[in-house]
Amino acid sequence: MGMTMAEKIIAAAAGVSEVKPGDIHTVELDRLMSNDGTTHLTIDMYNKLKNPHIADVNKLVWIVDHNVPCDSVKTAASHKKMRDFAKANGIKFYEGAGVCHQVMMENHVTAGELIFGADSHTCAYGAVGAFGTGVGCTDYLYAMVTGKSWLLVPETLRFNLTGKLPEGVYARDLILTIIGQIGANGANYAAMEFGGEGLKTLDMSSRIAMCNLCVEAGAKTALMEVDQITLDYLKEHGREPKHSFKSDDDAKFAKVYDIDLSTIKPIVAKPHFVDSVVDAKECVGTHIDEAFLGSCNNGRIEDLRAGAAVIKGKKVHPLVRFLVVPASAAVYKQALKEGLLQIFMDAGAIVMNPNCSVCWGSCQGVIGENEVLISTGTRNFKGRAGHKDSFVYLASAATVTASAIKGEIATADMV
């Protein structure tokens, strides 16, 4: 019986020749990422263990990104705990280098790996064909101490992509369309696998944006077929694939979807659910107070280029705060080099250091009562970006930037 990509990665990590959905396997993990959202809790639990030890410190990567630079005395204490522990134990540690998933993609992840991250958007790593999945801090602790964990083999939903996205339509519109189609729990417990000729038209940045958001459909992981674009990306970043898996022709998928990229349009996800998607045109004219271009989902150089192309020579609406937050220091430097930050600042945007920012409703840019944010972030849950009675719309970098100019939701062709 053929296997899917997810099944092959689990089989390899479990040291067995075959696995099937529903099986539970003990797996060896390749990498363990944790950030300042919950690492302090992991450390507290670790310190309660008898003779605690780290199975393989080389697997651990700790990244301060959620509140960096820190915003309160309480956060400073939690960061210090993380920093001191990392130093004392020789754990790879980043602070200020960017949003964790972007830092992982730039520096660590490779094809065929099995990775736990104490963050729900760890499924982003599927963009290079790695099985990344989000866990809580207790599962993280267990994996840190033993190097292993248990996994239920997920069923796989296969998305066959054909065609090419039209001009002015982005991967973010595509993945929001898919989430709208299958629903916020449409892939619960499952792997979402993407392949087909259409995938070859999507660059690495687009692939990361797609895989990253799959958890918003409930997915355990997201995986993209390894191809030349993957191999080129890894090579450029000095890495080799661990395995270049592809699903077998006779692999069993729980469901197969055919998506023609040429039919996708600019999309907006309305408050307060990511699957509450509509054609962006339906939201045109909706008042906004703030616009956010950034996050692990959409803060890469390609997204900043898309935003800069829309706003060049224009001005941010006087009543709107437009936050531009590159996803990593590498992206920031590249944007600086290309003159993109100059364009945003000339337009009146607030350019900030790489961090999670208002996407998770802390640190910087939180919105007040009854305020409206249009965002390239990951979620639009009620209260996610600040006050419990506030509203978040999700859209592409181009739509967000166009809206920042107009002071109301607008698409790029309107400015």
Binding site: K74, S78, N185
Partner: protein, 163 residues
């Protein structure tokens, strides 16, 4: 077979982790400090109304969103005996077991109950409401051991003879 009854609080579909505990309260020192703010974006009064032994009944995709483990910890800190939902998001499911919070999946119950009703759970067997029985699946013994111990870390300590 263990049996317990409780008063129910009824919630809808897609109760996400930012509803269960909004980001702004995560900086508080302990889960007991955070617990009064549970569900506050949706129902600010709810955390104060929930009593020890109460049960939450919800729709599909309960616990979707972030991997923040404070979410199940807080529900447990409020004294909630178990959450019965049409379905659970997977990260939340694992986190709940790892923190000793019992979760029960049932597709029918949510649509027939009213808030304040009593339900009786016979563990790994059925739920009774208004004289009607609803079947529930059994959790494997190893997961029940973790829940009964109060979570994965406590279960490991017990297994290693530390507690």
């Amino acid at each position: 077979m263990e049996k317990f009854s409780g008063k129910i609080w009824v919630l809808g579909d897609d109760i996400d982790t930012d509803i269960i505990i909004p980001t702004e309260y995560l900086a508080l020192k302990t889960v007991n400090d955070m617990a009064p703010y549970a569900f506050s974006p949706l129902r600010p009064e709810l955390a104060g109304q929930i009593k020890e032994g109460d049960i939450i009944v919800a729709g599909k995709n309960f616990g979707c969103g972030s991997s923040r483990e404070q979410a199940p910890e807080i529900i447990k800190a409020l004294g909630v005996k178990c959450v019965i939902a049409k379905s659970f998001a997977r990260i939340f499911f694992r986190n709940s077991i790892n923190n000793g919070l019992l979760l029960i999946e049932n597709a029918q119950l949510r649509d027939v109950v009213s808030e304040g009703d009593q339900v009786t759970v016979t563990l790994n067997q059925s739920i009774e409401h208004n004289g009607n029985q609803y079947e529930i699946a059994a959790l494997p013994q190893n997961l029940m051991d973790i829940i009964n111990a109060g979570g994965l870390v406590k279960a490991m300590r017990k297994l290693n003879g530390l507690d």
